[in-house]
């Protein structure tokens, strides 16, 4: 089943390159994969520990390399996210004026690569699938992007390639630090290894640098807004919504269980960085004057909350972080999708040039509003339940009546970030959709067609569903994390 989920998008990409009609093939592939994911989701038994739906194909006996796939609650959530966003992104891809086939193939490659990385139980494929997804990102921005697209494409590529390279070094260090009997590419074996406390710190720092670059941790974040501002909407949806979560996923998979002592030791550094992500980037976001840049920065900001959950180092916060990855993926994908539609219809995305779009595009305004409210953590959306868990998870450990420790101060400041995000989101919403247009747009923008409402509704519905009933996902995710702390 997982094999199907992983390979169908890649296969569809291949078929499109060979020459099958792009849109139909892409949609079919995405829907098949999505349907299969739903089956896995329904068939997943949250009471059983460990990985499920495991399938293995030996690749090389000499290197002990297995093409092994399997899911636990965490990877299942991420695969579900990847599939939903992939489907929506493909659906939102309108007419492409040149190289249509390559465009769709690239999208499928990103989606398939991300799914593969999430499903892999083998370190090698975990890494390789992610690399597979990076190249099409470069192409999508460089060929079909907007504005200063070449610069942006190079910047994002160099950044991500460097990040991956540092990550590779970190992984090798990790592999070598593991005691010989547990030394394996197999995550199941690797995860149960114990690394001596003294050896953890350098690995931790290298991994932080590598993963941090991939997920735009301050100060390695400036590629993100530029890339998302230049990327075509489906690419931004997939990258911000899904692929960027790879870094966090990897962190949850490897760094959290394997390097607990180093995490303890460097937790203040991590908190400092994530506060920079929340407060500093939040302020930068307030100062933005273009919608696409604003959204790019806001997605950087939200990484901080996810990291706060990770830094809390307990099952509550970690589950919240995983849920937030899921929720943020949905909301940012929706926002980028609507922004893409606005971009097609309006002359620019400058706040000063727009206004009153809600009159012309009520559906778009409504959907953007939902996305914005989800992003600022409004109850009812999955983001809220996730943020609640993150805050509660980060606040409790080592509670003391007399004074807060750093984690609690960080929680306090992160709460302030919620105010900041309300400020920039509502301000943008006010400037673009409310009020009167500063100048009339010719031709007058049309609203979203019927066919585009479906993918948007999908994103909204999933977010609402897990916002109202987060327990369904929590039950699936939390056993994986509880296992971390029982060793």
């Amino acid at each position: 089943m997982l094999l199907l989920i992983t390979l169908v998008p890649l296969l569809a990409a291949l078929l499109i390159i060979v020459g099958l009609p792009a849109r139909v093939t892409a949609l079919t592939g995405a829907i098949i994969s999505f349907a299969a994911t739903l089956l896995v989701y329904l068939g997943f038994n949250s009471a059983r520990p460990g990985y499920q739906f495991v399938s293995e194909l030996p690749v090389s006996a000499d290197l002990h390399l297995n093409f092994a796939l399997g899911v636990d609650g965490l990877s299942l959530t991420m695969i579900l996210l990847a599939n939903i966003v992939l489907l929506a992104a493909i659906w939102f891809t309108g007419e492409i004026d040149r190289h249509e086939n390559s465009f769709y193939a690239s999208l499928l490659l990103i989606g398939g690569g991300a799914i593969g990385a999430f499903a892999s139980l083998d370190l090698f494929f975990f890494y390789a699938f992610h690399e597979l997804a990076l190249i099409p990102t470069f192409l999508l921005i460089g060929i079909w992007g907007y504005g200063n697209r070449r610069t942006a494409a190079w910047k994002v590529t160099i950044y991500l390639a460097l990040g991956s390279f540092i990550l590779l070094i970190g992984l090798i260090m990790l592999y070598r630090a593991v005691p010989v009997e547990a030394r394996s590419f197999d995550l199941r074996v690797l995860q149960s290894a114990k690394i001596p406390a003294a050896a953890q710190s350098p690995i931790y720092l290298v991994l932080l640098l590598g993963f941090g670059t991939l997920i735009s941790l301050v100060p390695f974040h400036t590629w993100a807004p530029e890339a998302y501002a230049s990327a075509p909407a489906p690419a931004a949806m997939l990258h911000a919504g899904v692929l960027k979560k790879f870094g966090l996923y990897g962190w949850l998979r490897l760094a959290v269980p394997l390097l607990p002592d180093a995490a303890q030791r460097w937790s203040n550094l991590l908190l400092l960085l994530l506060l920079a992500n929340i407060i500093y980037v939040g302020l930068v976001t307030i100062a933005q004057r273009r919608l696409d840049w604003m959204l790019g920065y806001s997605s950087v900001m939200h990484i901080g909350y996810i990291f706060l959950g990770i830094a809390s180092a307990n099952a509550l916060g970690l589950t919240g972080a995983a849920l937030l990855m899921f929720a943020h993926g949905l909301s940012i994908a929706l926002l980028f999708a609507i922004t893409g539609e606005v971009r097609k219809r309006a002359p620019s995305l400058d706040f000063d040039a727009l206004g009153g779009l809600a009159n012309r595009m009520p559906i778009a305004a409504f959907l953007f509003g939902l996305g914005a409210f989800a992003a600022i953590g409004l109850p009812g959306f999955a983001n809220f339940s996730a943020e609640i868990m993150v805050f509660f998870g980060a606040f409790r450990p080592g509670f003391d009546f007399q004074h807060f420790h750093f984690l609690q101060w960080a929680t306090l400041l992160a709460l302030w970030g919620v105010v900041i995000s309300a400020v920039y989101m509502l301000r943008a919403y006010r400037r673009i959709f409310f009020g009167r247009p500063t100048e009339e747009i010719e031709p007058p923008p049309t609203d979203l067609g019927l066919s585009l409402r479906f993918p948007a509704a999908l994103l909204v519905a999933v977010s609402l569903f897990f916002g109202m009933f987060p327990q369904g996902l929590i039950e699936k995710i939390s056993p994986a994390f509880r296992a971390y702390f029982q060793r």
Partner: protein, 602 residues
């Protein structure tokens, strides 16, 4: 309650969910059919009202709990209900006043293009407000707390193409968020200390907090922040007057009768926590007092009919908060209860006047409406009498309860409260005289016409309620009433009121413009200007600095610097590439010699 056998029932869930379902149906299906949307919404609130009545009659009712977040040993957040007398009465108020205002809206918003949107948001509001009322834990309350904020945002911004409405909506939401920041932090701290967010489970563990008085004070004050935001207390009161940009029924329902009272309700709900900290109570009482006096002063110099009422709401909310701070939840709830009726009445009557004079809100452009819109005039008079505390109207009883309490606990606060009572009478009489008496000042005011029946019916019902809601024989069925104290407070209050009325009539009878001109009051004590300045010099300044750092130091400096350094290193190396074959050969030879030297002679 404790001994009675609790019978689980689906009624609370039905009452809660029907408005949500109606809202969802309107959004999904009946966007185009505007009248159908309106009917759906009205039907939903009526169903909720009926359910609330049924629930009200059954003291031993309970409801099933569903887990929302449940991580055993870490965090448990259920979606469950508290169904004590407090919440059952609030349910009645919310759905009852809500139903009347829905009906009123049928008339008021008859020809509105965004009618479906309006009624969807209204239903969402009823749902959220019921959620706050029913919540049995902090997180659930916070959920609905925020949802109320959103529906308020949507309704204030209903006419989103008006810049003022769009700005007001944003301002209201963000100001509330500011309060919620404190609220959430308070919740986190209480949870940190007790390990639970459920009110019922908190009680037995309260000792863990009360053992640390300073901690408790901070907790309570942070939670109070939420109420300051939602109930628009000083210093976060600035959003409420601006919120009058929304449709008038919304002002009546949300920004007068129910939502703004949520803060008071919440404080009463967690009274066990609040009353454990005398220091916090002191702060709360004074915040309420300051708000009451300040808003009363500002109201005397406003010209917009809805803004005057908005400031009077602020002032009355100040009374309620004051009562909470004086450790009497009963007095606060009693005033909340009566205020909900007469303030909704005042707003709806004002809406009726506004509609009659073709959406003119400046009181100096009205006048002489007593003849043209007689029924509105009478009902507005009822509301005014109730608000200024004239016996036998409802406001008299509830306000006197608070005044008597203040006299008993803190004479200084009592003095301020008395002054506020005078101010209330003064500005309401001013409003009343200018709008309804005298001669019409504009052609529109001359030709104004009475509103349709769907609008007048709620006015009449609310007038009746404003008349009787204060009497003990009526109110005691709904609320635990504050103990009657025999003091001189009612007499003093009556005196203050009479002075206010007399002064108002004396100053404003037959005038065509305001004889008073107090700049500071007219400009609302410059709060908006000050906040504008503050935001500009803190948040905006920091944002610009951060953007500068990000753009020029990190991106242009570090990132482009690194790329530039790489590039210029390459450019330097390029200089060696002279393109001359023999130069290369020479270097090559040198290299060989160097290698030989190292290989053989070292």
């Amino acid at each position: 309650m404790i001994n009675a056998v609790v019978v689980n029932s689906a009624l609370p869930w039905v009452a809660l969910l029907v408005p949500l379902i109606a809202s969802a149906l309107i959004v999904l299906f009946t966007q185009r059919a505007r009248d159908l949307s309106a009917l759906l919404s009205v039907a939903a609130v009526l169903v909720s009202f009926v359910c609330s009545c049924l629930i009200f009659g059954r003291a031993n009712i309970g409801a099933a709990e569903i887990p929302w977040i449940n991580l055993p040993g870490l965090l448990r957040v259920p979606l469950g209900f508290v169904l004590d007398q407090l919440s059952r009465t609030m349910m009645l108020v919310v759905t009852g006043v809500g139903a009347l205002i829905h009906i009123y809206s049928l008339g008021y918003m008859r020809d509105e293009a965004g009618k479906s949107r309006y009624f969807a948001a209204l239903s969402l509001f009823i749902f959220s407000m019921l959620g706050i009322v029913l919540a049995n834990n902090f997180v659930m309350m916070f959920i609905f707390w925020e949802l109320v904020g959103v529906s308020s945002y949507l309704l204030i911004g209903h006419w989103f193409d008006r810049a003022a409405a769009a700005d007001a909506a944003k301002k209201a939401f963000i100001t509330n968020r500011l309060g919620d920041f404190g609220f959430m932090l308070g919740i986190l701290m209480v949870w940190g200390a007790t390990g639970t967010v459920v009110f019922g489970e908190m009680l037995p563990r309260l000792g863990q907090i009360t053992a640390n008085p300073s901690f408790l004070t901070i907790c309570v004050l942070l939670i109070f922040c939420g109420a300051v935001g939602k109930s628009a207390q000083f210093p976060l009161h600035v959003w409420l007057p601006d919120a009058m940009e929304g449709p008038t029924p919304v002002s009546a329902l949300i920004h007068a009768a129910t939502m703004v009272a949520a803060g008071v309700y919440m404080l009463v709900r967690v009274g066990f926590l609040v009353q454990a900290s005398p220091a916090a109570l002191h702060v709360i009482a004074w915040v309420g007092t300051i708000t009451a006096v300040m808003a009363g002063l500002i109201a005397t110099q406003q010209n917009d009919i809805k803004r005057i009422l908005a400031y009077s709401t602020l002032s009355q909310l100040g009374y309620m908060i004051m009562a909470v701070g004086l450790a009497s939840g009963e007095a606060a709830m009693f005033h909340l209860f009566t205020h909900a009726f007469f303030k909704a009445l005042l707003f709806l009557a004002a809406g009726s006047v506004i509609l009659a004079v073709h959406h003119e809100q400046d009181i100096w452009k009205m006048g002489g409406q007593g003849r043209n819109v007689f029924l509105t005039f009478v009902t507005f008079a009822c509301g005014t009498l109730a608000l200024i505390g004239c016996p036998p109207f409802a406001g008299y009883f509830s306000k006197d309860a608070i005044l008597a309490l203040a006299l008993q606990r803190d004479p200084l606060i009592f003095a301020f409260a008395l002054f506020t009572a005078f101010l209330t009478a003064f500005y309401m009489v001013r409003l009343f005289v200018v709008v309804f008496l005298g001669k019409p000042r504009t052609p529109e005011a001359l030709n104004s016409r009475e509103s349709p029946t769907s609008m007048l019916l709620p006015l009449v019902i609310l007038s009746l309620l404003a008349l009787i809601a204060g009497f003990t024989f009526f109110a005691r069925h709904f609320l635990p009433l504050p103990d009657e104290t025999h003091s001189i407070a009612p007499i003093l209050a009556l005196g203050a009121m009479l002075i206010g009325v007399a002064l108002g009539v004396f100053l404003y009878r037959g005038r065509n413009e305001d004889p008073l001109n107090l700049t500071a009051l007219r400009h609302r004590f410059y709060f908006d200007e000050f906040y504008g300045w503050l935001i500009e010099h803190t948040q905006e300044f920091l944002a610009r600095v951060a953007a500068f750092i990000d753009r020029w130091l990190i991106d242009a400096g570090a990132v482009r610097g690194a790329s530039g350094a790489t590039w210029s290193f390459g450019a330097m190396l390029r200089l060696l590439q002279v393109g001359n074959l023999q130069a290369y050969a020479f270097l090559f030879g040198l290299g060989i010699i160097w290698v030989i030297y190292f290989a053989l002679f070292r």
